[in-house]
Symmetry: C2
Subunit: 230 residues, 2 copies
Amino acid sequence: MSENEETTHSATRNRLLQAALQAFGSRDYDGVSTREIVEAAEANISAISYHFGGKRGLYLATVDFLAEKLQSGMNDQLEQIRQTAEETPPDRSATLICDFLLHFLEHILLGEMGKHAPGIIFREQNQPTEAFNILYEKLLAPMHHTLALLVARYRGQQASDPASIIMAHALIGQTVIFRIGRTMLLRRLNLSAYSTANIETLKNQLRRNYLALLNSPPDPTETDIRHHAE
Amino acid sequence: MSENEETTHSATRNRLLQAALQAFGSRDYDGVSTREIVEAAEANISAISYHFGGKRGLYLATVDFLAEKLQSGMNDQLEQIRQTAEETPPDRSATLICDFLLHFLEHILLGEMGKHAPGIIFREQNQPTEAFNILYEKLLAPMHHTLALLVARYRGQQASDPASIIMAHALIGQTVIFRIGRTMLLRRLNLSAYSTANIETLKNQLRRNYLALLNSPPDPTETDIRHHAE
DNA sequence: TTGATTAAGTCAAACGATTGATTGAAATTA
DNA sequence: TAATTTCAATCAATCGTTTGACTTAATCAA
């Protein structure tokens, strides 16, 4: 009762989700075979149909599993940030934004999240399926909203102002590109992998980039993607 | 003689490449069937083995086809930029960078390139295969190098300085995130697609972002990812 | 010009292998 | 006993590839 649905189910079900997360995280839906998953999960093939109704059901459950896993670790942080932002002067929002994004960067570069999530998230962005809704509601939207809130607070705009939303998007992009474009950047730098020293350098550089963006003057012509800002 | 190899081959071969580009651009390697490709290309199944040795060969040829196609349109532009940069004072490099990136943005948002290339490029970044080398050599590296050159020139650094490379990467990331994360941003803005007005707004915002990043002070501690800058 | 020869390209048909899914019995648990 | 879960075996469908005959076009000797 203290646990949610997933954990009260059979152990086989959890092993399938773990194995599926690993598989779908590194390869595409069609590139993953059900037999490969059940082998990694030490389960029988029919377990997929039994527990999830089929391969498609397993994929959706896996995305939900991933979203739930990441959400639990991030929502507390986001909530805390929103509270802190309300209690401190607006100009401190920049620090909150930087700290959150740099923490996020570490997660996608080094953490467990960085292994599986990016592949799935990008694939769903590029060719959205039902699974994108799950990712958006549980992961992308909360993060995006909180960031836009802080941006608006710091820059004296409305959180619903598209300018704030675009800026939040730009800040996120500035961050995730070092995970998404990792292969390209590493090759440019003649590195085979990020070292901890590399990541420190990146964080320093990114912090300056964040502040440069946040402190840049808003559009004087008040261009608005949907309506005019109030 | 005036044409290169590709065009002198059979028409079937070209139709296969076109169909394969469309297919591999929107779906994953394993998600695309050879029969689907030959159907779109109005060719026989055995044509793939005949012309490319197999599905894998067709994929590699398709990536090369894509790279070649985009390279031709970009290399001239890059070369022109490098020349212009040498003839004008360093502080004008910022304008060159902005113009190039904004032109690039339009291409990936509206142009033919935006349809197929992003999916293939990201996939090869996330799970590199032999095809990544083709993309890197013909597309990513030239663009990255030129941008780093201009950045270094504008900021008074060496083009080989990792700080310049990282800044170039950040600028590219700032741009492509509006294509990669399109689905998320559009949902946040309650839009179904970018309009030309939207894109103008984006370009205005991005130009300010570029300049903010380019004008931001370099790292005072001279942190260097590989060695110390001279 | 003619007819034979050769090579290039295309075609329908079939190959074995693998795919996701299903079956009904067996095992496990309540 | 009854419900849940796991299992080996098998299903039809699709996968990438191969085969050998067929068509087309170019080449060359007569």
